[in-house]
Subunit: 193 residues, 2 copies
């Protein structure tokens, strides 16, 4: 459920230590020991908090040797913030959709073959999102997908399923938990400006 995701995210954020970590990471990646040192806490404690932050995709990590660098995941955080802003705005804004739709259609025609395969992943962010959303249309809301199942689905469009699957997560279209994937509610998707 959508509300539930927000709850978990904000509960995670609403902790002094975790917010301090996020603040530190906003100035650049750090590894666990460094964080522990700066905060005067035990590595075990940092592991605990990073686990929490990872669970909501507020951070991601990159391994270098046996030290792991943690990065702030700005886009996910921004999306949660935006869904808070939506909540705070009681008025419903309806925009004119016709032009937007025409533009989307053109992008889809350019990037997909007539038999529905993706020619290549657009480099331009805006077009990439349109393409991703097009592929997402075949997935069911609320359904839980095994990673393998999702890979198979994506392969119908393009061989590089790993990249595309990652894009689904990065742009907040999907949510991963214990290797199980699920569509996010649309309010949480990365929006095209």
């Amino acid at each position: 459920m959508q509300l539930n995701r927000l709850v978990i995210f904000y509960k995670t954020i609403g902790d002094p230590t975790r917010l301090r970590i996020m603040k530190m990471l906003s100035e650049g990646p750090l590894h666990g020991q460094a964080i522990a040192g700066k905060l005067g806490l035990t590595p075990a404690t940092i592991t605990h908090h990073l686990k929490r932050l990872r669970e909501v995709n507020a951070v991601y990590e990159r391994r270098d040797g046996n030290t792991i660098y943690f990065y702030l995941n700005g886009s996910v955080i921004k999306h949660y913030a935006k869904s808070l802003i939506n909540l705070a705005e009681q008025d419903e804004v309806k925009k004119d959709m016709t032009d937007v739709m025409a533009e989307r259609q053109k992008v889809i025609e350019n990037f997909f073959t007539t038999d529905g395969r993706l020619k290549n992943i657009p480099a331009q962010r805006k077009k990439k999102l349109i393409v991703l959303e097009h592929m997402l249309k075949g997935l069911q809301k609320g359904k839980k997908y095994e990673e393998k199942e999702l890979n198979e689905y994506i392969k119908k469009f393009h061989d590089d399923y790993a990249t595309i699957r990652r894009e689904f997560i990065i742009n907040n279209y999907m949510y991963r938990e214990n290797g199980i994937y699920e569509l996010n509610p649309e309010e949480m998707w990365t929006k095209i400006e």
Copy 2:
């Protein structure tokens, strides 16, 4: 401290019952009994959550007879959300300030007499904020003000101290706790577009 405010706000938001209340209030004001009914919880429990939400100014209330209607305080919520977005954006954007300053100066000259009194409170939001910020300059960061003390300060500018004091809170320039007022860090202020 700034981080601390954020922590308290997000901890408050990060609770299923409170987020559900906020969601309900986003569709219009409600009184306590109504909220309790819809959520299947005790009035005492609702009081508890509303107290929390009030502490961070996420809601405000209006009394009608002896029933109290609660409203969502959209602007405060949006400001916290924006400060999250700031955190998520690692790049620092510097803008050209010279034009902006000239405009502010003009507004201040128009709305204040030569001996520094406020002629009247601007109706236009943008100008109002400039005027409010001008008055705020005489307050000290980190200092805690009694309500009476703050009233006296505002009276130096204008007799209607109650309205102005309220504007300080609504626009997130100041923070109130147990009748004590304090300046918010500037990152949290209402920003002029």
